[in-house]
């Protein structure tokens, strides 16, 4: 279980303090798929960066399975895919994944490597240079590296960005499949239809504040909306107006 307790991030701007995140209290249960949604600048990536230890909170803390996580420490317990990720273009797909397996301290025999690549549909491209991959294939490779070391908690920032509809659907199927194996997934996304299909629970973040946490059906009921897109627009409009 991952908990954020009063997580706050304040920047000093020219016109005073900017509250990127304001007392965020969030709980992600083991085994669930949790989607964090919000418009641009809502604080999603800031939240993820603080959970990952890349950014120090102004105050508040992050607790993972009853253990407080320290800032600036590696988090090998999490598989992580950042937003707008581009893998090292000078390596081949196979070399790139072997490198991450090595860093994750897991075995890197060719069979296992093939299996990892097959999981994201990249086994045919093992010898191809990363610089020759399309954006979508780069994103799949990013997902493959997130699985390196077999972590049971995945944190994915916009995992389907840059993918065509077929690729997006395949990634969603893949995430559902790894979730069925017991892995927890925490992710941020703008694409609400995939969130609707994937998530057990969602969190709606607007202007650094958590406006809603709960099941998708509860959210739709709250706004008497037919789909997540409609409900989301109403929620954002209500907060910003």
């Amino acid at each position: 279980m991952l908990n954020t307790e009063n997580l706050t991030k304040t920047y000093k701007g020219r016109e005073g303090a900017i509250h990127a995140l304001d007392n965020l209290n969030l709980r992600v249960e083991d085994g669930e798929i949790f989607g964090l949604l919000g418009p641009n600048g809502a604080g999603k990536t800031t939240t993820v960066k603080m959970i990952m230890g890349f950014m120090a909170p102004t105050h508040g803390e992050i607790v993972f399975r009853d253990k407080k996580l320290a800032m600036a420490e590696p988090r090998p317990q999490f598989g992580y895919l950042p937003e707008s990720f581009k893998p090292n273009p000078n390596l081949t797909v196979g070399e790139y994944l072997s490198f991450h397996n090595e860093l994750a301290g897991s075995a890197v025999d060719p069979e296992q490597l093939d299996k990892q690549l097959r999981l994201v549909g990249m086994d045919r491209f093992k010898q191809r240079r990363v610089s020759d991959l399309s954006k979508g294939m780069g994103q799949r490779l990013g997902l493959a590296q997130a699985f390196a070391g077999d972590p049971d908690f995945l944190i994915l920032d916009e995992p389907t960005s840059g993918l065509d509809p077929i690729g997006r659907s395949e990634v969603i199927d893949l995430l559902l499949s790894v979730n069925s194996q017991g892995k927890t997934i925490f992710f941020c996304s703008h694409i609400l239809s995939e969130v609707e299909r994937l998530c057990d629970r969602i969190g709606i973040l607007v202007e650094g504040r958590l406006q809603f946490v709960g099941r998708v059906e509860e959210f739709l009921k709250k706004w008497q909306a037919e789909n997540l897109d409609e409900g989301f627009r109403r929620e954002v409009k209500c907060v910003t107006s």
Binding site: P82, F85, N88, E95, L103
Partner: protein, 257 residues
């Protein structure tokens, strides 16, 4: 340690596959060919000319390696958001040390290749066997790994690549005027107060002194360096570099990335 070695190996691998690496090798080759051509115009000093000019080539190439492979690739990694994936798996000091070590390997490769090529050219075209050229390679490695260490501190401070490169160039130029500057300041200090002298001496320890590694004249004239001096300069390099790497690691741990 395992992480540091893994990162350094990947830095080296990506450097070999970078067009800049081969571009620099071609530049070095052309530079040495040019030195041979110009040396043919001199009278009885061809070998000295090739060695002197060649050592200038080593400096230019190693400076470029330090900035392009050392710094630019670091910033590129951050731009691609790959840095986050790496820092998810390894401690920040291991990342800094790994990148530093990888760049140092590339500096070593270039300086050894260049020294070997100059050795051959001086032998073929200047009829001089100059084993002291391998000392030139040693000093270049010390000098440019220290410069890379300074770049690591600037990087850990969170400044941009352009500013980092400019500051590195400035550090390089200032570091090569240190001896002269210290001597003239000490002269001023003696005329002025004792506080001046203390300040100047303090600054001379804090600022990088690249003049310490400048043995070009001794190498050109095949003079033997006293062992004590070699040890002292190596000790200076070791202590300064260790301090730089400690500072950059500590800064990286404190910074938001």
């Amino acid at each position: 340690m395992r992480h540091i070695i893994t990162i350094s190996k990947i830095v080296m691998k990506e450097s070999f596959r970078d067009r800049i690496f081969w571009g620099l090798l071609i530049f070095l080759g052309l530079f040495l060919v040019f030195s041979v051509y110009v040396s043919s115009l001199s009278l009885n000093t061809a070998a000295r000319f090739i060695i002197n000019f060649g050592m200038l080539g080593i400096s230019i190439v190693c400076l470029t390696v330090s900035i392009l492979f050392g710094m630019y690739s670091l910033y590129r990694e951050k731009e691609r958001n790959e840095l986050y994936v790496l820092l998810n798996r390894i401690p920040r000091p291991a990342y800094i040390l790994g990148r530093f070590l990888g760049t140092s390997y590339v500096i070593i490769i270039f300086s050894v290749i260049a020294a070997g090529a100059i050795f051959l050219l001086a032998w073929i075209f200047g009829q001089r066997i100059a084993p002291e050229l391998f000392w030139a390679s040693y000093w270049a490695v010390l000098e440019f790994t220290m410069l890379t260490g300074i770049g690591m501190v600037f990087y850990a401070l969170g400044i941009s690549f352009t500013l980092n490169s400019l500051m590195l160039l400035a550090a390089y130029l200032v570091g090569h005027s240190m001896t002269e500057a210290i001597q003239s300041f000490i002269g001023l200090g003696q005329l002025g107060s004792k506080a001046h002298l203390v300040l100047v001496k303090f600054l001379s320890y804090i600022l990088p002194n690249f003049d310490m590694f400048d043995f070009r004249l001794a190498i050109v004239h095949a003079e033997t360096l006293p062992a004590g001096q070699v040890l002292l300069v190596t000790l200076y390099w070791f202590c300064y570099l260790a301090a730089l790497l400690l500072i950059s690691s500590a800064l990286m741990k404190k910074q938001d990335v």
